[in-house]
Structures are given as C-alpha cells and as structure tokens.
C-alpha cells in the first residue's frame, strides 16, 4: 500500500507535470532546431515568437468568450489557436522578408544572424508588451481536471491523489498529433524531403534544383505553427507572462542542444531530458520518501535538492555537461 502511495505521489508531482512540461519544451525546441538546421542560426527571438502567438490566441479567446462561443469542457483557446498560428506565420514571414533575407543573400556569418535575431526579439517583446501589457494573463477555461485528486482517492482508496489537469492532457495529445504530422511531412512529402536535403547539404540541394526561398518559406510557416502551439499549451498549463516566455529560451536551447542542434528527434528527447531533470531536482521528495522509508528514518527536511528558483541552473548544468562531453548532442546534430 505504501509503495502504491509512493508511486501515485511520484506520478502526481513529478511524472505528470514533467511529461506536460517536456512536451511543451519539445515543441519549442523543435522550432529552434528547424531554424538552426535550415536557416543555420540560433534564433533568440523564438521565445518571444511564442509569446506573440500566444498573445494573439488569447485575444481571439477573449473575443470568442465575449461572443459566448466555447468548446464546453475543452478550453476555448483551442478554437482560437488557428488565429494565433496565422498571425504568427504572417509576422515571421514579414520579419524574414524585411530582416533575415538581406543577410541570407549576403551570406552573413552565423553570429550576425544571432545578433539580428536579438534585435527581432527586442521588437517582438516590445510589441507583445505594448498590446497586452507585461502582466500575468490566465485564459484557461473549460473543465480544470480530467481526474481530480479527490475523485482518484475515492476511486482507489489510496491516501495520495493523482490529479491530471485538462491542460496536461491536451498538451500531450496535441504534442503527439503535431509531432506525428511534422514527421510525416518531413519524411513523406516533396517539400519535407527538400527541407531535409537542404538541411543536410545546402550545395547539393541547390544543385538538384531545390528552390531555397521555398524551403525557407515552409520552414518559417512550420516554425510559426510550432511556436504558437507550444506557447499556447504552456500558457494553458501555467499562465501567460511575456517575461516568462523570454526565460523559456534557456531550457529550450538546452533541449535542442542536448538532443543535437538540427535533429528533430533530438529536440523531442532533449525536451523530456530537461523537463524531467528540472522537475526531479526541484521537487521536495519528503512526500514520496515518507512512504518508502521506515518510520525512524523519515527525513526532517523537505529533501529538495534545489529550490525551484534555481530551475534554470538545472538546464544550464545539463547544457554545460553536454558541451563538455558531447558537443554534438545525443543524436549527433550538426553543430560542433
């Protein structure tokens, strides 16, 4: 019984949140890795792209709510998501046209691209704060839980409850669908194949008649969709605040690098590695250990390895370890 309680507590506080967070990071890291693979730079504006997409989705959600349209138990934001995606794709294509294309034609050094993306980040950040303000926004509606802790306790008779938030469920299902679609697209369509060819060897791809501008166009469209979905899922699960989205950059970059920059599978694996490490290191283990250890060994403290304020330190530490021992990442990305 105690063992079961321990497992349930572990699932409730570590496994379920980490899976949800990992899916969000994976979607974000996929966007970063795609830009890296095809446009060949680290996009610092990605966090703020996510914030922009989420902002448009929130505005559309509010509009739907004012019209009285809702999805019942599901959050209205899902209905508003296409608006966010369209707006974000438009913004990214506009940015590419006005900013990045010039440097692409110049064949500028990657570090110049990174700096330019920093300027873009500045502008997007200002735009988001200008429209919706720097404060926290909650926009989740519909049913809060798929399984609430109380129902679970009543169902199983255990002392520990397992709560699964609707947002967590939606996150995982959406992530699976999106990733499946993305891989199908990359592996089975003409455009997807040309994107992979372009990422593997630009010169050969150009030689075989692939139109680079078309590849770039599709990349930005996919990245815009991924960023918006990741941002909205994160916002539904936690809350929306422009600065938090900027701070997500570090764990997302860490995920992409752990997996190997430029490798989509790696980005997904990296997202889960980072999320699980972050949650396990900052979780107070007292609750789980209480069931597992004999009474007299029960810990006094919270048995928390690190306070949650240092969750960035976890991503950073993993990043450093990967850079030291395997700079190409787990799945042998392209960067050295």
């Amino acid at each position: 019984m105690d063992l079961l309680n321990a497992i349930v507590a572990l699932a409730n506080f570590v496994i379920v949140p980490a899976i949800a967070y990992g899916s969000q990071l994976a979607l974000g890291a996929l966007g970063i890795t795609l830009v890296y693979g095809i446009l060949r730079f680290s996009n610092f504006a990605h966090g703020d792209t996510m914030a922009f997409g989420t902002m448009v989705t929130i505005l559309a959600t509010w509009w739907f709510q004012s019209l009285g349209i809702s999805l019942g138990v599901l959050p209205t934001a899902l209905l508003a998501l296409p608006f966010g995606i369209v707006a974000t794709v438009a913004l990214l294509l506009g940015t590419d046209r006005v900013v990045y294309r010039f440097y692409r034609r110049q064949k500028a050094a990657p570090v110049i691209f990174v700096m330019v993306s920093l300027g873009v980040m500045f502008i997007m950040n200002g735009l988001v704060r200008f429209v919706i303000g720097p404060d926290d926004q909650r926009f989740a509606d519909g049913a809060r839980f798929i399984v609430s802790a109380r129902e679970f306790k009543a169902m199983t008779g255990l002392r520990e409850g397992l709560a699964i938030k609707t947002s967590a469920g939606i996150t995982v299902i959406t992530a699976i669908i999106v990733v499946a679609l993305l891989f199908w697209f990359l592996n089975h369509t003409r455009t997807g194949k040309s994107m992979r060819a372009f990422s593997d060897n630009e010169d050969l791809a150009l030689l075989s008649g692939i139109n680079p501008e078309r590849v770039v166009l599709y990349t930005w469209m996919i990245v815009g969709a991924l960023a918006t979905i990741a941002g909205v899922l994160y916002g539904l699960d936690k809350s929306f605040k422009p600065f938090t989205y900027f701070q997500l950059l570090l764990p997302m970059f860490a995920s992409a690098i752990v997996g190997g920059l430029g490798s989509p599978v790696g980005a997904i694996a990296g997202g889960f590695v980072i999320a699980f490490s972050e949650v396990t290191v900052t979780y107070a283990w007292k609750k789980v250990l209480r069931y597992l250890l004999p009474e007299n060994l029960e810990p006094d403290g919270l048995v928390q390895l690190m306070s949650t304020d240092y969750k960035f330190a976890v991503s950073f530490a993993i990043l450093i370890i990967v850079l030291l021992f395997r700079p190409t990442g787990l799945f042998r990305g392209k960067a050295v």
Binding site: V131, A254, S307, D309, L319, V336
Partner: protein
C-alpha cells in the same frame, strides 16, 4: 568629412545634448545622465573588447554587471559580527567542501580514464559531496539569516573602502567568465551566446535567493561612498562650503547635490580615460593585431601558430572583468544593490546597442555609443509618452484605448531600441565611428 574632424564633432554633439538637458530641464538630471553615461561607456568598452576585438558574442552582460555589484557589497559593507559568529565559519567550510568536491571530481575523472566504473564512481563521489555540502550549508544559512533579518540577516562585507571593491567586482566577473569561456569557447559561436545567457540568469537567481550572501531581494542599502565623494549632509554642515556657495549666489542644499554628482563624474571619468588609454595601447600592440587577425580569419591565424581558443578565453575574461568593474561602480553610484532591478533588456541588450551603434571594434565608438544610447534611453520614455498623448488627444478622456496606449508608452523603449539595432546593423554596420 574626414574622421579627425568628424569624431570630435560627434562627441561634441552628444555633450551638447547633455548640456541642453541641463539648461532646459535641470542640472541634476543632466549630471545623472552624464554619470550613467560614463558607466555605460565602460560597459560598452568591455563588450567591445569581446565583440569588436575578437568577435565573441556575450549575451550575459547583465550577469557580469551584477557580479561586479556583488563585489562592491562584499568588500565595502561592514561585517555583521553576530552573523559571522552564528554560521560564518560553517558557510565558508561548506563552500570549501563544494569547491573540493568539484575539483576532486575533475581529478577523479582524469585519474580513472579508461576504467569501466568511472561514471559510477564519479556519481557516488558527487552525491556524497553534495549531501555533505547541504548538511554543512543549510543550518549555517538558517542561523545567519535569523540574525536581525529586517536589518542585516547576512554576513556583511569586509568593511574596506569601496574603491577596493571595484577591482574585486571585476575579478568576480572574470571568474564567472572563465567558467563559461572554458566550456563554451572553441565550439560554434552560438554556444557562447547561449551559455552566457544561462550564466546571467543563474547569477541573478543566486543574488535574489541567497539572503546570507547579499540579502537577496531585501536589497543591500547604504553602501559607503568612495574616497573623494562626500555625503550631501556633510557639505551642508560645513560652514566653509555654505559660505562659498552663498558667495556664488547658489542655494547650498541643491549645490551640495550637484557637487557630489560632479565628484562622481570626475572619478568615473578618470577610470574611463585610464581604460580607454589601456585599450588603445592594447589594440595597437602586436597583441591587438593578433586579436584582429584571429577575428578576421581564424583558420589563417591558427595556421600561423596562434592559439585561437586560448586568446578567445583571454579576451573574454578581460572584457567581462571590465564589465564587472562597471557593475561595481554602478552599485556604488546608486548606493544600493537591488537584484530585482537587473533585467536583460536594460543591462544586456542596451549595452549591445551602444556598441553596435557607436562602432564595433573602435573604443572611441563604444564610448560614444555608451553616452548617446544612454541619453536616448532616458529621453525616449517622455518623448514616447508625449507622442502617445498627441495621438490620443482626439479621444475621450476616459477612452479605454487611450488609457491603454498611454500606459503602454513605457514599452516603446524596447521597440525603439530594437529598431535602432536592426537599422544600424543593416544600413551602417560599422557604426558611427568605424574601425579603421
């Protein structure tokens, strides 16, 4: 126009902007801009060493600025004897254990090369070290933070003059730079950017949460002033000062504030000039030429036998130390360390805009950018507010859109700085004062 005429004119123009602020607004505001401009110029010099001399992209300027500030606090604040008695020795021991654990792990890793159990042994060693550290550290921190939490609750500093704290701040920043540079340099250029972004976030998190070290978000206030700068109240109490100011027909109270700011400006200017002199000497020495050669063609420089990664590490540490020094000066000028106010937009990206706009690779350009961009940063907000008021003048007083626009005017700064950065990068990538 040739550069010998153009550059002094540019500086004169910025000086005229500051003087105009003094005449139109108040000398207090103008001197504040001047002082912060001097500090910004030093930060820009440091970043320019990394970017302009070596092409290294540091996105963690904020972290090094904050570490410099910590250095000033740790040197200048009076020690809290009670807190030291409560847990000072134990904290130091815990930190020593932490350092020894990491050093031991590195040594073990090297010693056990080729053995199969290497990973396992290392993991066990690190876990034991970690728990030993926490066992020593946690009670000591609790004891220190319990000592008069409203007033102190931290170990305090060494009680030495704050001027000594400035180089110490630089050293702390240099230490952090060594850790980052050692891991991220020699790999792709993007990795340094990402690693510095990370270290900056972590440094700020440490400053916000480690109350025993620098009181966290409770802030350290009342940092003593550096040697030649008196307190306003001392000047107002001095009969000679009051008599002289009255002799010049000035109000002694407002004059004392001006004199204090002027003295700060003088002190900062001396340091800035010394740093410019040193940087110019370095840039025009064989070492500086080697740096630029590495920046322009790493492969060729490596073929000539230059240790590219080693030189990069060197310049990265030097530049970060200069940024740390500026951070210590900033904290001294403010008289307080407020970890909550460090945000990347203000302390990282603004400095970058200064370097790019001023002219990367040119020390005078970086300094000019420091003054100019700081001036704009201060002035854009009222201008933005004014524009918003003009735009919305036709709307009803209580219109929601109007209120929202006026409230959001503050965020115009980010937008403006981003646009300036992109425009300069695109149309004038060499900046106002280009590298020759």
């Amino acid at each position: 126009m040739n550069p010998t005429l153009r550059n002094p004119l540019l500086f004169a123009a910025v000086a005229a902007l500051i003087v105009a602020t003094g005449l139109l607004n108040s000398w207090n505001v103008a001197l504040n801009i001047l002082n912060m401009g001097l500090i910004s110029a030093i930060m820009a010099l440091g970043v320019n060493m990394q970017w302009g001399y070596a092409g290294l992209f540091n996105v963690g300027v904020m972290g090094f600025v904050a570490l410099g500030g910590l250095g000033a606090v740790l040197v200048s604040m009076p020690p809290v004897a009670e807190a030291w008695a409560a847990g000072g020795a134990r904290v130091l021991l815990a930190l020593a254990v932490a350092v020894a654990t990491i050093a031991g792990a590195v040594a073990l890793w090297k010693r056990l090369r080729g053995r199969r159990a290497r990973g396992l042994v290392l993991a066990v060693f690190l876990v034991i070290g970690f728990f030993l550290f926490r066992w020593l550290f946690d009670p000591a921190v609790a004891a220190i933070e319990a000592v008069n939490p409203a007033g102190t609750g931290y170990l305090g500093g060494l009680g030495l003059p704050v001027l000594i704290g400035w180089p110490v701040g630089g050293l702390l920043a240099a230490g952090a730079a060594w850790i980052v540079g050692k891991t991220a340099l020699g790999l792709r250029s993007d990795y340094l950017a990402i690693a510095t972004l990370g270290i900056a976030e972590i440094i700020i998190a440490v400053l916000k949460n480690e109350d025993w070290l620098s009181r966290g978000v409770k802030n350290v206030v009342g940092i003593p002033r550096p040697w030649p700068v008196p307190y306003e109240i001392e000047l107002q109490d001095s009969a000679a000062f009051v008599a002289r100011m009255q002799g010049w027909g000035l109000d002694p109270v407002s004059a004392s504030a001006i004199v204090v700011k002027l003295l700060y400006a003088l002190l900062f200017a001396v340091i800035l000039l010394a740093l410019i002199w040193l940087s110019q000497k370095a840039l025009n020495s064989p070492w500086g030429r080697m740096m630029r050669a590495i920046r322009d063609n790493e492969v060729a420089a490596e073929a000539m036998g230059k240790d590219v990664t080693g030189r990069h590490l060197q310049i990265f540490i030097l530049g970060s130390a200069v940024v740390g020094l500026a951070g210590a000066m900033l904290v001294t000028l403010d008289g307080q360390l407020t970890p909550g106010t460090y945000n990347p937009l203000r302390f990282t990206f603004l400095v970058w805009v200064m370097v790019i706009v001023g002219g990367s690779g040119n020390n005078w350009g970086a300094v000019l950018g420091g003054f100019l961009i700081w001036f704009l940063w201060v002035q854009v907000e009222p201008i933005g507010l004014w524009i918003m008021e003009q735009i919305t003048a036709g709307m009803a007083e209580d219109s929601a859109i109007r209120q929202h626009l006026i409230k959001s005017a503050a965020h115009m700064r980010l937008l403006t700085m981003g646009v300036i950065l992109l425009l300069v990068l695109r149309f004038s990538p060499r900046g106002l004062i280009p590298e020759r």
